[in-house]
Every structure is written in C-alpha cells, then in structure tokens.
C-alpha cells in the first residue's frame, strides 16, 4: 500500500508540475505580446498626484437669483524639489553614486576603475548643499526659509515612511512619497516661473509646475467670514490609510473661517497619473464642491458700504455690524462688519492690520463682538413678563424720570419722565422705569434664566464659530463681584445693561424670535440642514402686544425710532426698536508695573496689547498692576451734553433692531454702531436704508427693482462710490 500511495503522490506532484508548466506557457507564450507591451509602456518612475481644483465659495445674486463668485481659483506656479534632495535615502544615494562612477569611468576611459563610495559621497553632499544655495539665490528667498520648508517636509514624509513600514515585512524600497516633488516656493507669477524655468535648465532635482491659488473676486465683501487658505506642511499619519484623505506637503488647506469650516467639501480628492512619456491617468481627481452661501451679494455689499459711510459720519464710531435674516427660509441674507480689509492683501499687510487696535479691522464684529444690548431686549422681556402673568398688559407704572426718591441713580433716559406708561407705550417710548419695575418683579435670576432660554450666553449653532456672549448668573456674580445678584442688577438686566453681553448675531436671532415666536438659528450655507430650533414659550397674545409696541416705535410720530428710521417709501409696515447701550471706552494703552523678580526693582511698561503682555510677562498675573492711560473714543467736552436737549450723554453703542412686514414677517434686521451714541440717530438711518434695499431686492413688498442684470449695470455706476476709501 505504501508504494501505491507513493505512486499516487508522485503522480499528484507531476500533475501539479504540469499545471505550473501549463500556466507558464499561458503567460510566456499565450500572453507574451501583452506583457511585452506592458514592459515597454509601464512606468519605471512611479505615479504622481494630480491636484484637484479647490471648490469655490459663492454667494447668491441680488434677490436670490443665480450665484456670484466670492472666492475662486487663479492659476499660478510653484517650484518643487525632488524629495531625495531634501532627505537623501540610501537607495537614492547608491544610485547617484553609481551614475557618478559611470560618468567618471567614461571620462577617464577606464571601464574597470575602482572608486570607493567614501570618495564620492562628500562630492554628492556638496552638490546637494550647493543646490540649496543656488536655489536661494535664484528664487530670492532667504536660505533659512528654504531650509525650514525642507525640514518640515522631511519630518512629515519621514513619519509617513515609519507608518508605512510599521507592519510591513520588508523595507526593500522607498515608498511613493519619497519619490515625489514637493513645493518649496509657492505662488509664483507666470513671469517669475518662465525666468526660473530658463535658469534651472534641465535639472531633475527641481521643477517649476503649475498650481493654483485663491482669488478674491469681490474685494472686501464678507472678508471676515471667508477665512484664509495656507500651504500645509502636510499632515502626520493618523491611521495606516494611504494618503488619499490627508495632505501632502505644500497643498492648499483651509486655515480659518469658511475655508476651514467647509474644508471637507472644498478640498476634493487628488488623482494620480503615470510619469512616463505616455502618461495614462490612473484615477481622475475629484474637484472640490462649490459652497453657496445664503448671503445676498447685493444686500451684503450695500450694507457694508452703507455702514462704512455711517461710521465715517459719526464722530466717535469705531466700527459697525449688521445682520439680516430671512424669516421664511431661515437664512442669513447679510452679515456685515466694518471696518473691512482686502483678503487678497491679507498676508502682505498682516502686521499693519493686526496691530491696528484702534479700528480692529480683522475683528468680525457681527460674530465676535460682545456688546450690551440695551433697549432692544425690552420687547422680548415685556412679552415674557405678560406671558408669565407677572404684569397685565394694561398695568401702568409711573415714570418721573427716575425710579424713586431713594433710588435717584436709576434714571430714565428721558429726564422729564414718561408719566403713566403701560407695556405698549413703554416700548414705544423706551421707558426705562417701566422695565426697572419689571426687573424687580421678575428677579435677577429669573431674567438671566430667560436670557439663556433665548440663546444668550451660548454661541449660535449656525455651523461657524461665534462668541457666546455673557449672561451673568448668581455664580458669575459671586466670582466676579464677590456678591450675589441684587434688585439693582435685576433692573439693569431688564433694560439690557449691567453685565449682559450679546453679539449682533444673537440680537438678530432674538429679533426673529419676537417676530415669529421661535428660537431658530438661521443657516448660511445653501443645502445645509437647518439647525434645530424651538418655540420660545411666549404666548402669541403677549408677542402681539410688543409687536404693536414696536410698530408704534417706528410708525407713530412720537415713537423713538420714527424720526430717523421711518421710511415713507416702504410699501409694507415695519416694526423696530432702538437701543443705546451705555459702554465704557475701550482701553488701547496701559501702564503696567511690577517688581522684577530678579532685582526686586519696580519696572514700568507702556503696553499696547495687554493680553499679549500678560501671556509673556515674567511675573504671574496677580503680581501685575495696570491702569489704562489711553482709551478710545475720547469724548470732547462739548459733546458730553446733547446740543438739542441739553441732556448729558456718555459713550454708548447704538442699536436698531426690527423686522418687516408686521403681518407675516419676512426679514429681521439688526444694526449696531460701535460708539454710535444714540440708537435712533446713529443706527436708525442705516436700518431705514437696509429696509428700502430689501424692498428693491424683492424681499419685502412687491416693488422689486433690482434684478441680476440691472444690478451689475448699477454697480458699474456706483463703482466710484464703492471704492472711495
């Protein structure tokens, strides 16, 4: 039996051998032509990436028609260096040495000449260093900068190599990323690129290749929100996943603002192409998706321009912001903040822009500016009090210009007083005394809890970072003032003063809540799901009361907003509320003194940026003493008294918030002028103009004037006015 089984076994092996021979014949004879073709066409050099085109950022056209480019791409060139020249590996060195040896043998005509590696290696190292020196001279780029790029790239690629080899059995050859070109000088213009190409000649160590950069089509429109891209140093490996989803050194990556928030959409995926004479595309790049913002370009540009004009006209204004929300689709139509800057010159002028602490041009006031809201919170507080049953709509309080004989420091803005006021008239006349009383009844904790409920004290979840603002609570008071909240704090909170701080965006969300009865953060990217909203829990009856009050504010001839914000041309009725929030001047220069820890001598500094100084100061924060020596705006003596009424006035932020139409609200508008002093006078005209523009664009009323076509023509006429800064 053994022999029988052995014969079977041998037969099995012979059949197996025949099978292999058959397969061999198949490959060598049957498919010979096919493989011969592959051998003559497959690349000896590996594949290279094709960068995808980054998605554009678009805004909607006037009235929501079509789209307009905000950020697009423009072609440029970059100078890229072969990776082994940055970080020579043993394989590349060995190949280089072999080539050098052959060359020397040919020169000396001795085919068997022996040249040890130790002789050639210093020559190669010298060549590499010389190459970097020359590169520095050619590109007029400081050598230190080139070396920094080189080191960063090396670091990233090395970590990739380590990661790839972590669970491999053999490290027999370099990985693909070690045989690619990485940019060291980016954003070259065509002229520069042509010059460089001519000078670099036919070197395989460096290439000048096309690339692209961001182009800001509409100047400073929405400049704060767009954000910035950067050439990344490359990303470190997070998983063993091959680089498809990560960054190669020198690729564009969104760094801030929308570019960062929408990075996943904008980026796209790179493709791959072979690098021989007949390059075949292995995979096509997938271009990034375009992002369409809900912003109406005509409205946004108009508001920015209008705000700039207003800030120029007012004596103390340092900046302004405005937010317009579409209440039917819940979309942001405009989000303006002035002063602005030109994003295409951001890098060039960065120091100038970031050190301008008078105008703060880089500061996005609409999202990050925290201001006391002042009287614009009165309608919603009143509605809540009625809804909760704290007061009846017809209950009146008596306003004599101040709260009571004992509490003279709680004044109304109108020294002569409003006399008997109910809720509607208190809103119409913006009576402080009425709301002081409401605050007393509601208690400070109740008011601050209500503010939390309508979204103050938390960032608005619109998908892009914004400030939380501040709603003072009992704990906050104890930790900051060393005492609990008193009735006085309740009064202040009820008129939107005290330690309350909100952003213009939060104000717009609040105004939408008054108009519709819902707390609903708007979206600002077309197609994104709407953030979750909720009813604010105020009865429709109470809301209608305060809407009536806001209507009278704007449309009655003795309303606080009538004089500056009432628009006769408007075909629909709008409602609004003024607000003048007292604010301290902003310190821009400090004198800091402390004891030097080494010499115990007192030291004094004049400091422009206190936060930065504290962060880098040699002594802990508690040992520093500082006082403001300069703050803006500085009020002139003659302005401390209102020339018309003779009342004394201090610095205040001017607010104007409203919506239109009163029936079926369509848009909510909030305007803020930093240090605009009086709400109606400073912010009212802007509100008026925005309302008219919205009517022209067809958002309210039925008299649409501006369409996509005539907007562009109109813009051509206005172009001088737009660029007058």
């Amino acid at each position: 039996m053994f022999n029988y089984r052995m014969k079977l076994l041998l037969l099995g092996f012979v059949v197996f051998g025949m099978g292999l021979v058959f397969r061999l014949g198949m490959v060598q004879i049957g498919q010979h032509e096919q493989y011969a073709q592959i051998a003559s066409s497959t690349p000896a050099t590996p594949i290279k990436p094709i960068p995808p085109t980054r998605g554009r950022i678009l805004a909607r056209g006037p009235g929501g028609d079509g789209t307009v480019e905000l950020v697009a791409n423009e072609p440029c060139f970059e100078l890229a260096v072969y990776y082994p020249v940055m970080d020579p590996d043993k394989w590349w060195i060995s190949d280089q040495l072999r080539t050098m040896r052959r060359k020397i043998r040919k020169q000396r005509n001795e085919s068997k000449l022996k040249i040890p590696d130790e002789e050639l290696l210093p020559i190669l190292t010298g060549q590499i260093e010389q190459f970097w020196q020359n590169l520095g001279i050619l590109t007029e780029c400081p050598l230190a900068q080139l070396q920094a790029t080189r080191e960063r790239t090396t670091q990233v690629i090395r970590s990739w190599v380590e990661n790839v080899h972590k669970d491999r059995e053999t490290i027999a050859y370099p990985i693909l990323e070690q045989r690619m070109y990485y940019p060291v000088v980016s954003d070259l213009d065509e002229d520069q690129a042509i010059d460089l190409r001519a000078q670099l000649g036919n070197s395989s160590w460096v290439i000048v290749r096309p690339s692209s950069r961001r182009l800001y089509r509409r100047g400073d429109t929405l400049c704060h929100l767009l954000g910035r891209t950067t050439r990344t140093p490359g990303s470190l490996p997070k998983t063993t996943k091959i680089i498809e989803k990560d960054y190669l050194p020198g690729e564009l990556e969104g760094l801030s603002g929308l570019e960062a928030v929408c990075e996943e959409h904008l980026k796209g995926y790179r493709g791959w192409v072979e690098t021989d004479e007949d390059p075949q595309i292995i995979s096509q790049p997938e271009d990034g998706e375009d992002i369409v913002l809900t912003i109406d370009i005509a409205l946004q540009e108009y508001i920015q321009h209008r705000l700039k004009k207003q800030v120029r006209q007012l004596p103390y204004a340092t900046g302004a912001a405005a937010v317009v929300v579409d209440l039917q689709k819940w979309e942001l139509l405009a989000l303006a903040s002035v002063p602005t800057f030109d994003p295409s010159e951001y890098v060039k002028k960065f120091h100038q822009l970031s050190n301008d602490n008078v105008k703060l041009p880089l500061f996005n006031r609409a999202l990050w500016g925290r201001y006391a809201p002042g009287s614009i919170v009165k309608p919603i507080i009143g509605a809540w009090a009625v809804s909760e049953g704290t007061v009846t709509p017809f209950q009146t309080f008596y306003c004599r210009g101040y709260l009571s004989e004992n509490l003279r420091r709680f004044k109304c803005w109108l020294p002569s007083g409003h006399h008997d006021v109910d809720l509607i008239h208190a809103i119409k006349g913006s009576c402080d005394i009425y709301f002081y009383r409401l605050g007393e009844l509601l208690t400070a904790e109740g008011v601050s809890e209500f503010y939390k409920k309508i979204g103050f004290g938390n960032p608005v979840p619109i998908g892009i970072d914004n400030a939380a603002g501040r709603v003072p609570t009992q704990e906050w008071f104890i930790s900051h003032h060393g005492r609990g909240m008193s009735a006085g704090d309740a009064r202040n909170l009820a008129i939107g003063q005290g330690d309350l701080e909100i952003t213009p965006l939060q104000a717009a969300v609040m105004m939408s809540a008054v108009a519709t009865g819902r707390y609903q953060p708007p979206r600002f990217i077309v197609g994104k799901p709407l953030p979750r909203g909720r009813p604010i829990g105020i009865s429709a009856y109470a809301l209608n009361l305060v809407r009536n009050g806001m209507d009278k504010t704007l449309n009655d001839s003795d309303g606080t907003g009538h004089k500056y914000a009432f628009a006769e041309e408007l075909t629909v009725r709008a409602a609004g509320k003024t607000g003048s929030a007292q604010a301290p001047a902003r310190s821009i220069q400090w004198q800091v003194s402390y004891q030097d820890p080494l010499t115990s001598q007192p030291v004094t500094h004049i400091v422009d940026n206190l936060t930065r100084f504290i962060r880098s100061s040699p002594v802990p924060r508690k040992d520093l003493n500082w006082r403001t020596i300069r703050s803006i705006p500085e009020m002139k003596e003659e302005d401390k008294r209102d020339p018309a009424t003779g009342r004394s006035q201090g610095l205040a932020h001017a607010w104007f918030a409203g919506y239109a139409p009163i029936q079926r609200p369509r848009i909510a508008v909030v305007v803020l002028i930093e240090y605009g002093l009086a709400g109606g006078k400073a912010a009212g005209p802007v509100f008026h103009d925005i309302m008219l523009k919205c009517q022209d664009l067809g958002y309210i009323g039925d008299r649409r004037k501006i369409t996509f076509n005539n907007w562009q023509i109109e813009r051509l006429h206005e172009i001088d006015e737009y660029t007058d800064e």
């Binding site: 039996m1 053994f2 022999n3 089984r5 052995m6 014969k7 076994l9 041998l10 092996f13 012979v14 197996f16 051998g17 292999l20 021979v21 397969r23 061999l24 014949g25 490959v27 060598q28 004879i29 498919q31 010979h32 096919q34 493989y35 011969a36 592959i38 051998a39 003559s40 497959t42 000896a44 590996p46 594949i47 043993k90 394989w91 060995s94 190949d95 072999r98 080899h165 972590k166 669970d167 491999r168 059995e169 053999t170 490290i171 027999a172 050859y173 370099p174 693909l176 998983t239 063993t240 996943k241 091959i242 498809e244 791959w272 292995i282 995979s283």
Partner: protein, 427 residues
C-alpha cells in the same frame, strides 16, 4: 548494534551511487548551478541597491560550497542515530523559536539583547551570532520532519483517530510559535507536509477526509485573524483580475473586509500588486526562448523587479531563458521527486522512508508555492525557491535534507522477513 546491509550491485552505480541518489544529486546540482548563473547575471546587471545587495554571487558561492560540504557529511552519517535524537532536536528547535520570540520582545527594549535578537522588518526571526546568523524557523523544517517520521513509525499512531492527535499537537506547537514571529509562509508549509506524511504512512482515507474538512472549516477563522497586510496578500491573487477589482469597488462592504484601508485604484502600486504585475511581466517578456543570458529589460533596462535574487528568482530565470528554461527548472524538481520516491520505496524501514516522504513533500511544496506565487497563482508568502534563491539558511536547510535522503539510500537496515510493515488488506 544495528545490522545494516551495504549496496549490493555496484555495477549499476555511478560513482558509488544508486540510480535514485544519482537522480536526486543531479537535480540538486542542476538547480544549484542555475542559482549561481543567476547570481552572476544579477551581480553584473548593476541593479540599484534598493533591489538587490552587492556581491551576491560571491556570498552565494561560499554558502553553496559550505552547504554542499554539510550535505556530504550528512550522507556519511547513520540516519538512525539521528532518529534517536529526533525528539530532542525537535524540542531544541522549539526552544530556539521560543527564545527568538522572548528575547526578541526584550530586545526591543534592551539594546544589547536587541543586537543578538534583532527586530527586523516587523518580525523577530533571527539569532545573530558572530560571523553568521541563523533562522530557527528554517531549521524547524528539518526537525519537524524528523520528529513526525519518528512518531509515525508505529501503526497505532496513524491508524486510529486518537493516534492522529499526536501529529497535530506536534504541528500546532511550532505553528503557533512561528505565527507569533510572524512568518506566514513557513506556517502554511507545515500543514501540507503533515498531511502528505500521514497519508504516506498509511492513515485511513476517512480520517484524512475528516481532517481536510476540519482544515477548510478553520480557514475563515484564520483569515479573520490575519494582519491587514497578510490579508491583502492572500486577496491579492484574486485582485489581479480587473473584473474582480471593479466588482469589489461596487461592493464596499466586502471590500472593507477583505482588502481594508486601501484603495483598489492604487492596487498596481501596492506592494503585492507591484510584485505580481512585475513578476508576471518579467516572465511574459521571456517568451519561448527568452531574452538570453544576462539580457532583458529587467536586467539591463529601466524596469525593476524587487527581490529578484530571492523570492522572485524564478521570474528572472524565465525572463532570461524563456519557457524552456523555466520548464527545465520545474523538470529538475520532478527529477529530484522521482529519486526521492524511489528512495522511499526501496526503504522498508518506516522511519527512513517517512523522512524521504517528508523531504519530498517540503521540497516540492515549497518550490510549487514559490513558482505559483511568481506566476500569480498563489499569495505572496516569502517562501524561497529551494536551492536557487539567495540566502544561506535556506540553502543549508535543503542541502541537509538532501544529505539525509542520500544517507537513507546508502544505509538500508537489514531486512528480516518479507515486507514486515505492510498491511495489504488495509484501506
């Protein structure tokens, strides 16, 4: 004292060798000569160092001479004496394997131990001694065959199912140790050897069928526990076809399981894909008569085939010598196989003939797997082509095994009575 007979009819012998030994030796020498020819050609081709190390012809010649000497020594030894040591040797290699694992683990943390037990390319399988280094997982091939043959001498050890548990225990221990290194190729080699040896020993067919069914049932478990790179190698065999790749791309769930973390579009540039494509291209461009010695795009031109001196040497042979040259290599193995079958058949003593069967199995399976891998029929496992691939450990192992076979052929124990170990009525 053992009674042995001496070769009887010297008239039929060549240099004192029986025809079977002559066949084995001829095949071996033919393959060794092919190996040296290849090393010389690759050395002269001036391939970049990323593909092959320098001076491989010289080192391979030295290895070859040494291994040949060892083979002659093995031939002169009485193999039955080794038989007495079979278990001891097996346990000794197991200890070495364990040491490699344990000290390799310590060596990653303690420097001077790490110099002796280096952690190379993600696995610890070497013991580095002054002047040379050894790889216990190579020598386990010898001692495993010896141990198994020793065990299967007795009928009760292969005729009963309980008896068959022994060989499996004997296989499982080294398998686990090598799996931990990890060295997948050697692990997968042990099972077919076991199977062929118990088959040849005379195990019942229904037992064998039961074992095969069990083994097939274990495949999914085994596959699930493989490292991603090992998994992608196994799957790589099927990914050669563009249809399979497109099918997988439309079934992402299956793709994520069998080929995780990688892009199918990039398959040609993955390690497996690159190897398989270029190995097949090198073979395919050979055609019927080949490009000629030292010629062809993979030696002279810009094409590169990594590991062409080692795992993929068959591709380079086929590239230079074409279909006939490559078929000749397969023929050499079959000649050795015939010789070994003859040796096994002539030896009535069960230990000796089972060793011969074991040698036959390991040689042919390893050669078959290597050639199959080069032709794109089997997963890339890192198994070398016996006698041809570059590398001392592999050469030494196979020359020792051939030496053992020759020793068995030389020493037939004296046979008392006709065929004492055969049971013709078994089935």
């Amino acid at each position: 004292m053992r009674l042995t007979n001496t070769p009887t009819n010297k008239n039929n012998t060549f240099l004192g060798l029986s025809p079977a030994s002559t066949a084995v030796l001829l095949g071996t020498i033919g393959l060794a000569a092919m190996s040296l020819l290849m090393m010389y050609a690759i050395d002269n081709a001036e391939l970049p160092q990323s593909i092959v190390p320098d001076n491989i012809f010289r080192s391979q010649s030295i290895f070859m001479l040494f291994a040949f000497g060892v083979m002659l020594v093995m031939r002169s030894i009485n193999y039955q004496r080794i038989g007495d040591l079979a278990y001891a040797l097996f346990i000794f290699t197991l200890v070495l394997l364990t040491a490699v694992l344990v000290f390799g683990w310590i060596g990653q943390r303690v420097d001077f131990i790490g110099k002796i037990f280096p952690y190379v390319n993600g696995s610890c399988r070497w013991i580095r001694l002054p002047f040379f280094q050894i790889q216990p997982s190579e020598f386990i091939k010898i001692t495993y065959i010896l141990g198994l043959a020793r065990y299967l001498r007795y009928r009760k050890n292969y005729r009963q199912f309980q008896g068959l548990l022994g060989p499996f225990a004997l296989t499982l221990l080294p398998m686990i140790l090598i799996l931990l290194e990890p060295d997948l190729g050697t692990v997968l080699l042990l099972l077919p050897i076991l199977f062929i040896m118990i088959y040849a020993a005379g195990a019942k067919v229904r037992h064998l069928v039961a074992i095969i069914v069990l083994m097939i049932a274990c495949v999914p478990v085994f596959f699930a526990n493989m490292a991603p790179y090992q998994r992608s190698r196994v799957v790589g065999v099927f990914l050669q076809s563009a249809e399979v790749r497109t099918w997988l791309e439309s079934h992402p769930k299956v793709k994520d399981y069998v080929y995780p973390d990688k892009d199918l579009k990039q398959w040609k540039n993955s390690v497996e894909g690159f190897h398989l494509l270029h190995a097949k291209t090198a073979i395919g461009t050979g055609g019927i008569i080949g490009n000629g010695y030292g010629k062809g795009v993979y030696l002279e031109g810009s094409r590169k085939l990594p590991e062409c001196h080692n795992d993929f040497i068959f591709a380079i042979i086929a590239h230079q010598f074409g279909f006939f040259g490559a078929a000749a290599v397969i023929l050499f193995y079959l000649i050795i196989a015939t010789g070994l079958v003859e040796i096994a058949g002539k030896t009535a003593e069960p230990f000796g003939r089972l060793i011969a069967v074991g040698i036959l199995a390991i040689l042919l399976i390893q050669a078959g797997v290597n050639i199959g891998m080069t032709l794109g029929l089997m997963p890339i496992t890192g198994l070398t082509l016996p006698f041809v691939s570059y590398g001392g450990s592999s050469l030494l192992t196979f020359f020792i095994l051939i030496g053992l076979a020759l020793a068995i052929d030389r020493t037939h124990p004296l046979q008392i009575g006709p065929k004492p170990f055969e049971f013709e009525n078994d089935s």
